[in-house]
Assembly symmetry: C2
Homo-oligomer: 150 residues x 2
């Protein structure tokens, strides 16, 4: 985590942004937290321990965190912007449960390769991609079957 903090400070200086207590608190809260949180999630978390930080500051700091490559936006189709840790994390895709909302991070090198090929076939220069599979997780699949039986 120290590495991320130093990287963040370096990036701030690089862009003539100031290293403030608020920004550091917000970054630390983000790094410590479970992943995939919205601005509002993080704001509430911080509020519990420190009510001195405003929503706008959390919002703005999250934008900086994204720009510095420490976070990336994930989109679960509910129109809410959520962030996950990016630094030191490899690319992955998601399995998202339609019932309980839990998600699983997955990676398949064969799919990744075919995605590259597919793009090239269309003379398209791929930069990034997003693959989300929606369905029912093991637990929810079971409970759905049980419901149907009743």
């Amino acid at each position: 985590m120290q590495k991320e903090i130093e990287l963040f400070k370096a990036q701030l200086r690089k862009y003539n942004l100031k290293v403030t207590q608020q920004r550091l608190k917000i970054l630390e809260a983000f790094l410590k937290a479970e992943r995939h949180l919205s601005c509002d999630d993080l704001y509430r978390m911080i509020r519990r321990h420190n009510s001195e930080i405003g929503y706008a500051t959390v919002y703005r700091t999250l934008k900086i965190i994204q720009k510095t490559g420490l976070a990336r936006e994930v989109d679960f189709g509910d129109k809410i912007s959520r962030l996950e840790h990016e630094y030191g994390h490899k690319h992955h895709d998601h399995l998202i449960c339609l019932k309980c909302g839990r998600f699983f991070e997955v990676f398949d090198p064969d799919i990744e390769l075919l995605q590259e090929k597919l793009a090239r076939k269309h003379k398209f220069n791929p930069i990034r991609h997003k693959m989300d599979i929606f369905g029912y997780c093991r637990k929810c699949s079971q409970s759905i079957n049980q419901t149907q039986r009743m």
Copy 2:
């Protein structure tokens, strides 16, 4: 298109919804239009020829069109809900140009197969998925290279 209209009417009756001129006008505009339009897009299009239809009606009718299986929502990551024709259209994924905003519909059966396998490997029951590859289309790739040369 007549087939879609009949299907729509049948669905309306099935759900005790009324067949109104507004609903039919909106459906026709949707079916005739280029794909991937937002509620606002469609509202503006309709307004050009018929200023008697309110935004709320377009909005509500689009919801019905989705429910009847004539449209599906596509998500290009800009938080705007857009619809594309669904009836008689096969599943496909998208290549989306980061520069000009154009998109290309693609389908790769090998990827689809691997997606199924990946889900199963995680005991996950897949229902639908979304795969979007963002990058630069052929034209934009060229113009970017030219810019860099200058």
